[in-house]
Subunit: 278 residues, 2 copies
Amino acid sequence: MDTSRRNLLCGLGGLALGGAVAGLTAPAMAAVDPNAPAGRFSQVNGEFGWKPHKLDPAEVAMVAYDGYWYKGYACGYGVFYSIIGLMGEKYGAPYNQFPYAMLEANKGGISDWGTICGALYGAAAAYALFWGRKERTPMVNELYRWYEVTKLPIYNPGDKATGVKGALPQNSSGSVLCHISVSKWCYAHKIEATSKERSERCGRITADVATKAVEILNAKIDKGKDWKGTFAVQAAVAGCGECHQTKGNDANWAKGVMDCTPCHNGSKALADKFNNHP
Amino acid sequence: MDTSRRNLLCGLGGLALGGAVAGLTAPAMAAVDPNAPAGRFSQVNGEFGWKPHKLDPAEVAMVAYDGYWYKGYACGYGVFYSIIGLMGEKYGAPYNQFPYAMLEANKGGISDWGTICGALYGAAAAYALFWGRKERTPMVNELYRWYEVTKLPIYNPGDKATGVKGALPQNSSGSVLCHISVSKWCYAHKIEATSKERSERCGRITADVATKAVEILNAKIDKGKDWKGTFAVQAAVAGCGECHQTKGNDANWAKGVMDCTPCHNGSKALADKFNNHP
């Protein structure tokens, strides 16, 4: 009796046993459930209402790497679990009630589309459980600017490597986009995008991003509103933005703060490859 | 007594009242909590374990549009809430226990970086609560390919418009990236990226993406494994992929299935704008 009552009252954790019942009668239950949100757009625990906890970057790196390989759930899952999942292991709810596999959608830059590096999204999503836009954006900027300019991967699991053991070549991607990050690395080092080396590279970058993300998170917890990032806005973003992101300018049409140079550089890679392949 | 006990046992829903207690004693509690996951990488309700429910696309469109404007939480929040939040309003837990504001991270293509259109991410994330990779990827492909080629925005809230009332110009973005989608629309129609018109455009596209996403979701629920998308892979992705995404090819270095043509077309916009601005 107590068990079924708990299922009626509990949220994410209750469906495992109470799913069949909830499926039939949930609308009426929701109306009397003391744990239901108050109305449209309201949410339990409040928006950005979770309490952040400091984590050990070395432990986070290992869990992120292992998370990358767990059932192939990959980069976004690895980073997100290494932060929120580890908090769940150490502090219980609400962290351990999250449906982590949702972050598998990030694999390959969102279902293989090659958009944002899923590892980077996983970190932004984790931050967004704790901090609203104003405080979070500088944290995201710091992580993403670091990613653009840092030679990756750095992490080396040694003999515990799941894919390929030993050192891997590094480069700086210049971009937060999965397509550019992966393709430039593969092109530079003559490694196939579908190879085990490339998978291992992304597993290690998952650990690198998680490490940096948690260093930022720990510093933010320590310094609060006084925390500031160390990476300046990219020269191209600042320069191009003087016209293309300034109110009242006829050319104020550009959205985004990705470094402009990987795409707006007139390189051979950006020539008309579809109609006039060299 | 019963209230505090419920807080100990419940997950996401329990922190509102029990947060202070959980912060102090959660590690021990987690060990005996019957709603805690079984171990590392396990999760309550199972991976991709939520039950999907059909929704009314017209209701979803309205909620997505309103969600876009709710506290400026924008596109990803709007689409995600219009699916998972509406299921929460109708069916209770686990849907209504989700920390929806997490999706605010998607605003401006992830904290203004201009990567993936946040509305598109919101839909992929919602799908990932219900379906694993193999079944979900064709759904994401259908939605994203539709977005690349469809003239948007379509939705018109009429007199209920929050930003700018009346018709807005349409175009097809050719890209799932926020930067390209927004910038091409602004450039084509001589509308500033920081204008109310542009915000309204993205609010309506939030409704459009949610509508299409739920049409796909409803059809998937009806047809199950027999569901198939209608949009073919883009000509450039198929053509370029013959070398750049084929195992064993020396040029197999490309990750992603975004349409290649917006960037690899040799257009003036891709010339060396930083060093040699025309």
